[in-house]
């Protein structure tokens, strides 16, 4: 399975973690499309802790973490 972990406001209206069938997804971008998250909404996309562009291939066992932009003050 592919594990998708949502952080901050990406959690709203979703579970914190979703498990996906790897055969249904070729890239991280496909995962974003599935959850209707636009590329520009994502500040950080990690696959197994490593920054990955949306066109990165995904496979069984991957953990994807998604973060929106944050502020400071």
């Amino acid at each position: 399975m592919i594990e998708v972990r949502f952080f901050a406001t990406f959690r709203e209206g979703r579970d914190k973690v979703s498990l996906l069938e790897p055969k249904d997804f070729k890239t991280a971008g496909d995962v974003l499309d599935y959850f209707r998250i636009r590329r520009e909404e994502v500040a950080i996309l990690l696959i197994n802790g490593l920054y990955s562009p949306a066109d990165t291939a995904v496979k069984d066992g991957d953990v994807i973490a998604l973060f929106p932009p944050v502020g400071g003050g």
Partner: protein, 243 residues
Amino acid sequence: MRYERQLLIPQIGQSGQEKLKKSKVTVIGVGGLGSPVLTYLVSAGVGRIQMVDCDVVSESNLNRQFLHHTVDIGRAKVLSAQEKLASLNPEVQVSTVNQRLNPDNVKEYISGSDVVVDCVDNAETRIMAAAACMELDIPLVEGGVRGFYGYVMDIGKDYPCLSCLGYDTVKQKTPVPVLGVTAGIIGCMQANECIKLLLGIGAPLYGRMLNYDGLSGNWEEVHVKKAADCPIHARAEAGKRGK
């Protein structure tokens, strides 16, 4: 005695307190994160603290930026904060930089700091501060907030930075929604990391992004990796070689 309670902590004691007194910290941004960071570093007795901000206090700051009060609206944030911090602990030297950091001045201002704490509200300054800290080999405590959520992470030249995580391409919509409490919680965590780094105690959050969810009441750690092609790490290396 001002520091009595923290002198009782075995990891601090008299020698740790002396170390804090001899330390210099630069805090970039005197807003929602900067307020708790500065308050707790000053009350802990960090000897020299430099704060950087070019903004003035506005009414919409007051839900979270507790160093500024209603009477301070329109005043420079660094001056408003300096007044309260001097009253809190006159033993600490608090200096101010009422300027916007830019690539030409950032290294000059942060040079000589033992730790830099990033409390800014824009991705551009975050990346610029991270690059300068790595080049000068100064640990950086990073924090960010949004709504009920936030994160804290330590950054160093041998560890992942925001650019490693692809954060430099972020287009941030402003204003970012923030609850004052969230900024307070994350700012307190940043102050805690800063004190750990100054004293060389505990396990700093290098390579560990600690995420706070105030709605569900959870903290979750995400292990992050340094990118092999990170432009900021490359720039820091090139800057060092150029010296």
